[in-house]
């Protein structure tokens, strides 16, 4: 096949719906919602009703099978208006959804997948702990077999959707002696006794996306919550991250585009020394860099989605997209702020929000440094291409 930069009519139509939805339904209250740290469950439901969460889930479980590129484009357009609202894509279909699809029993698929697509369920995934971030294997949460169930003890931290979710993925050690070969994945219901959730409200950005800590205290989960086999947890986790990393970079891409949109508008509007500031070469230069890098980021993100849609190895390519988007969105937010000057620093324009929200893209779903490790080690032959 020759290279084709045109999206299919179907994908163009999907972008249009996502864009129209974002502009008409999210935009009018975005600043108000963000400042109030408000999670718009109703908007998440509307997105679900339109099938936005069904792209990577088969029809038999309520999805529409439009694919990863479609899911990427939708999350991009939603994030372009409110970055906080790209999170539900990862918390529902991309994270729990795809992982249950890969490793779940038929019973688990039937129980969770339709709800994750139609929005009646909200999901999460619990990997990070207070002392375990990039070093996933260092997690301390344990799930010890006890008859027909597991007893879970431990703390999970920085869990998106913690305060609003109904279910989620839990990674814990069933056999700590075996190191990462002793890690196991579970799919749990949040109303299980022994689970305590605390919101984390003081954070730099993505104020419209709830996050919290989850504590398990002698929490008894049934053996039927086991996802895959005991000891498969680390592998399942890495595969899940390869999916959610794509959802995440789609959000970063949309936010970078928003920075460019805003910069273009203001550079043409704002007059200094009798001309629009876009006429000054130093501003022109910033616009040129932003436009070029947003496009380059888009090609990397779409390529990762393209490979995933075809079931081809894409771990390194997904990391390239995530790393690059994380850097580009921060540069674009910085440049947009410079172009807006003090108005950017004020809360009167959305640029301050963009600046706050951009930072997370260098941190979540594997930091920029972790992405570079994956890319470099794969290139050098230290890591298998998967």
């Amino acid at each position: 096949m020759t290279i084709n930069f045109d999206l299919t009519e179907e994908l163009q139509d999907i972008r249009k719906v996502a864009r129209d939805f974002a502009v008409k339904e999210i935009q009018p209250t975005v600043d108000e919602d963000d400042k109030a740290h408000r999670f718009r469950r109703d908007l998440v439901q509307k997105m679900a009703d339109l099938g936005f969460f069904g792209c990577v889930i088969p029809e038999e479980y309520g999805g529409n099978e439009m694919g990863w590129l479609a899911a990427t484009i939708i999350a991009e357009e939603i994030s372009r208006v409110h970055a906080s609202l790209r999170l539900p894509f990862n918390m529902n279909p991309n994270g729990p959804g795809c992982t249950i699809l890969r490793y779940g029993t038929e019973e688990q698929k039937i129980k969770y997948l339709p709800g994750l697509v139609d929005g009646s369920l909200l999901g999460m995934f619990a990997i990070t702990e207070p002392d375990s971030g990039s070093d996933v294997g260092s997690m301390r949460t344990k799930a010890i077999k006890d008859g027909d169930s597991y007893i879970v003890n431990g703390n999970k931290m920085w869990i998106s959707n913690a305060t609003v979710c109904d279910m989620g993925l839990l990674y814990a050690y069933t056999d700590p002696a075996k190191k990462i070969k002793g890690m196991t994945a579970f799919v749990i219901d949040m109303n299980t006794p022994g689970i305590t959730i605390e919101p984390i409200t003081d954070k730099l950005g993505t104020w419209g996306a709830p996050v919290g800590s989850i504590t398990f205290e002698n929490c008894r989960i049934p053996a039927s919550a086991l996802l895959g086999q005991e000891g498969q947890g680390f592998k399942i986790c890495m595969e899940q991250l390869n999916d959610t990393r794509l959802g995440c970079q789609a959000g970063g891409l949309g936010l970078a585009q928003a920075c460019l949109d805003a910069a273009l508008k203001y550079a043409n509007e704002r007059q200094q020394f009798g001309v629009p500031i876009g006429k000054f070469q130093m501003v022109t230069d910033m616009i040129a860099q932003m436009a070029t890098e947003v496009d380059a980021a888009r090609f990397l993100v779409y390529r990762a989605a393209f490979l995933k849609d075809r079931g081809r190895p894409c771990t390194m390519e997904t990391s390239m997209g995530k790393y690059y988007v994380g850097e580009v969105v921060n540069k674009c937010a910085d440049y947009a702020m410079k172009i807006y000057g003090s108005y950017g620093y004020s809360e009167e324009y959305p640029v301050a929000r963009y600046y706050r929200d951009a930072k997370s893209y260098q941190i979540v779903e594997g930091t920029s440094n972790i992405q570079k490790l994956i890319i470099g080690e794969t290139m050098l032959g230290y890591r298998k291409r998967i």
């Binding site: 139509d13 999907i14 939805f21 339109l50 529409n64 439009m66 479609a70």
Partner: protein, 252 residues
């Protein structure tokens, strides 16, 4: 209840209109479904959900693939597109004659359109061609017992008009809130039939639809002049305002 919806594409409402070489420059201008037609599509779908039947999208000229796909993705059942080189130089008369003929090829109980379609003339002309009653600029519509009861905005109030169906109804903003096409709808739209007809297929010749109106020239509206603020005390300012309105603006 079978419903025909007349549809056209129009310039994106945010597009900057430019005139080049005596014609409107269409290059690089985004086209969207005519916003008023979108209300017509939504109303047709609501009536279909209530009463059953089929919704057929009908357009003249080959300029509407995106709008047509959108209407089908929203839930319309099929589409008819009349495409013929002879339509290129047409006017509202041309479009109306062609659309009326196309509507006649299907069974219909109602024809819906956006009120602004083709200088706000096309839908009314279609009604005349088909010998149907019409109600324009409608903000509320009920179809019951062979009658269409429509509310339309008039200056200072509303007017309620009742006509027998079939009839032509044109939609105004406020009639409904158009739905977004769902992912499922977008996928299904691909499989829905779009019937392409030529003038010959409709039994029309190029002469029969030749334009009655010829455009002499296009020009952009002149830029709005800056406003004038009259300062000073109110009595003197009012007197000055009256003088300006009389002597400069010739308004009183």
């Amino acid at each position: 209840m079978n419903i025909a919806v007349l549809l056209k594409q129009t310039f994106d409402t945010e597009a900057k209109i430019e005139i080049a070489g005596g014609a409107i420059n269409k290059k690089g201008v985004g086209l969207i479904i005519n916003p008023y037609d979108e209300y017509a599509v939504e109303e047709a779908l609501k009536l279909k959900e209530k009463n059953g039947g089929e919704v057929t999208i009908i357009s003249a000229g080959a300029d509407t693939p995106d709008a047509m796909r959108q209407a089908l993705a929203m839930g319309a059942d099929k589409a008819i597109s009349v495409e013929d080189p002879a339509l290129a130089g047409g006017d509202e008369y041309t479009t109306a004659v062609v659309l009326a003929k196309a509507v006649s090829t299907i069974p219909y109980d109602l024809v819906l359109a956006g009120w602004r379609e083709g200088s706000a003339q096309v839908a009314v002309r279609v009604a005349e061609e088909l010998g149907l009653p019409h109600i324009n600029v409608v903000t509320k519509l009920d179809i019951d017992g062979g009658k269409a009861t429509a509310t339309r905005d008039i200056e200072g109030g509303n007017e309620i008009v009742e006509v027998p169906v079939p009839a032509v109804i044109t939609a105004q903003k406020g009639l409904n809130e158009p739905r977004y096409p769902s992912m499922k709808g977008i996928m299904q739209a691909k499989k829905k039939p779009i019937q392409k007809l030529s003038l010959g297929d409709l039994g029309l010749s190029a002469d029969q639809v030749a334009a009655k109106v010829k455009v002499q020239s296009y020009f952009l509206p002149s830029a709005k002049a800056a406003g004038k603020i009259i300062g000073g005390e109110a009595p003197q300012a009012a007197a000055e305002l009256a003088r300006l309105l009389r002597e400069e603006a010739n308004a009183i």
